[in-house]
């Protein structure tokens, strides 16, 4: 069965129909609602892996403490000055705003790319949970350099874990989503408790300077451990850490996904409430998981780290952290997949997303290369963030027409499509670390999109803009 673009985009529109209208004044939310939302959203199973990887990549104590602080502040400022202002002015989700700017075809491609990336991310979260469940059955955890499944036991554990997560998501997504909000405060407490409790295992201390010495010599030593170096892990420094903390939520701030949240904000300063999420989730939890991995002899096994630091509660935390965050991620992926699955019921779409996610979770490549995947995730969607920003803020100032794709009912905003493709190719070819590529890529996307749009508007008739009937607003 084949679907035309018109049918695909029509289905997408139907899914997001509820969000088509801008949010009304009386629906705006209070600040504490944003604070609690972000506080619950940024403590995931993957935090167990990310902080531990910093240690294995030989980050120094100063670099991790200050680099994370600066990077997280830059992320908060990106939410406040890039994402929130556009959301507050338009009161629309990114879907509908991109629909006006990029056309329905581009929006559909964006959604599908997003769905695939969501499935990989959810797969990594399930793999994190599997490391804790595997402990109970003596299943060996894959090595750092593993790309393919390393044992039958690992495959069975990830398939079963993924199967259970998918089944629960099908049976009661909404109830589980509500229940997952219960886990947030307890989970961050487990991170803090675990890190404090394993400190005595790392050395003697009687003063703050002793603690600092342990941090510098036993945890964040500034040297890649021999075993990790043998597996090909490279040293990361201050700039890597700062950039990582900044871009790890690139999809949400610079790429504007969180317009869906901030359209309910009273003003752009509500972006500062993201501090309630990134501070516990991307600072405290990452530092804590670094301490935990040092206490288990630098073995990258979230399950083992958590059990050593917090016993059964730790194992439960790893399972729940992976489960409760994989669940909404799978739901979002399913929502995007629904556009190309004609008349499929909700359970069937969730099942399809769950199968894809579970298959990804079997491959340690995504879990053991999580830092790189997070970088790629933000990078792939970044040019679209630049396109929307340019169209919203720069076009009026430059005298260019906004929302031309919408007015002309073009299926694709051709300049946006070209910008997306060339920017990604350029980022792929950039001769420096993956972590740093998004920023020049972002600048390049502006440099491409503005002149291309000028040309599209000046010589528009010469472009093969595909027309659709009955589409647009």
């Amino acid at each position: 069965m084949s679907l035309s673009w018109k049918e695909i985009t029509g289905r997408l529109d139907a899914l997001y129909e509820f969000d088509r209208e801008p949010v009304h004044e009386d629906k705006l939310q209070k600040g504490w609602e944003f604070a609690s939302l972000f506080a619950g959203e940024h403590v995931a199973g993957t935090e167990f892996v990310i902080g531990a990887f910093f240690v294995l990549h030989g980050v120094s104590a100063f670099d991790v403490l200050v680099g994370l602080l600066v990077g997280n502040l830059l992320a908060v400022l990106s939410w406040t000055f890039i994402c929130a202002p556009i959301a507050v002015r338009t009161r629309l989700t990114l879907y509908w705003y991109l629909r006006r700017i990029g056309g329905p075809g581009l929006t559909a491609i964006y959604n599908l790319a997003n769905a695939l990336l969501y499935c990989i991310l959810a797969g990594a979260m399930i793999a994190v949970s599997a490391t804790a469940i595997g402990l109970a059955f003596n299943v060996p955890i894959p090595e750092l350099s593993s790309k393919l499944p390393t044992s039958v036991g690992w495959v069975v554990i990830t398939l079963v874990t993924g199967g259970v997560v998918t089944t629960v998501a099908i049976l009661g997504f909404e109830k589980l989503a509500k229940f997952s909000s219960v886990c947030g405060p307890w989970m961050i407490m487990i991170f803090i408790a675990g890190a404090l409790a394993v400190f005595p295992d790392l050395g003697e201390y009687h003063s703050v300077s002793d603690l600092w010495t342990i941090a510098k010599t036993k945890i964040w030593t500034g040297v890649v451990p021999a075993a990790a170096a043998a597996e090909g892990l490279k040293k990361l420094g201050f700039w890597h850490i700062m950039f990582f903390a900044w871009f790890c939520n690139l999809a949400m701030h610079v790429d504007l996904s969180d317009m869906a949240v901030f359209r309910y904000a009273k003003n752009k300063w509500y972006g500062l409430y993201t501090l309630f999420g990134v501070l516990p989730g991307h600072y405290v939890a990452w530092l804590a998981s670094g301490v935990m991995v040092a206490a288990v002899g630098l073995k990258m096994s979230p399950g083992q780290m958590a059990v050593n630091a917090a016993g059964l509660a730790g194992a439960l935390a790893v399972v729940l952290a992976g489960w409760t965050t994989a669940n909404p991620t799978m739901y979002r992926a399913g929502l995007a997949f629904q556009s190309i699955t004609p008349n499929w019921p909700r359970w069937a779409v969730t099942l399809a997303a769950g199968i894809a996610t579970t298959i990804f979770s079997c491959f340690p490549f995504f879990f053991m290369r999580l830092l790189d995947f997070v970088a790629v995730y933000g990078l792939v969607l970044m040019p679209i963030g630049a396109v929307v920003f340019a169209e919203h803020w720069l076009f009026p100032k430059l005298g260019l027409e906004q929302y031309r794709a919408d007015r002309t009912r073009a299926l694709f905003n051709i300049p946006a499509l070209i910008t997306w493709a060339i920017t990604l190719l350029a980022c792929w070819a950039m001769p420096f670390n993956l972590f740093f590529r998004w920023l020049p890529g972002y600048a390049l996307a502006f440099a491409l999109y503005i002149p291309l749009s000028w040309a599209w508007q000046r010589f528009g008739a010469e472009f093969p803009a595909a027309e659709i009937s009955g589409g647009g607003k």
């Binding site: 509500k178 219960v182 307890w186 803090i192 404090l196 400190f199 059964l312 509660a313």
Partner: protein, 82 residues
């Protein structure tokens, strides 16, 4: 509805106490006051207490409409405009 509101109030206080037990036991372990086994025991107890009580505080709607209605006048629940 009254007893439900009182239960949500009590559950919220017990949930906070459970988190304090979790954190407190780790601080005591960090300070060499208790050993790791005792810390694990307290952490597990705090965890069980949290999951028995916090759902009533955070998601009263999971326990039915009457709990949801009662939660609107509980101490540590958001007060919504009607």
């Amino acid at each position: 509805m009254n007893w439900r509101r009182h239960w949500i109030n009590l559950a919220s206080l017990l949930a906070i106490a459970a988190l304090i037990v979790c954190l407190g036991s780790s601080v005591l372990c960090f300070a060499h006051v208790i050993d790791k086994h005792a810390y694990f025991a307290w952490l597990n107890a705090g965890t069980i207490a949290w999951f028995l009580t916090a759902p009533f505080w955070f998601t009263p709607g999971l326990f039915g409409k009457k709990f949801e209605q009662a939660s609107s006048s509980a101490w540590l629940r958001p007060k919504r405009k009607v």
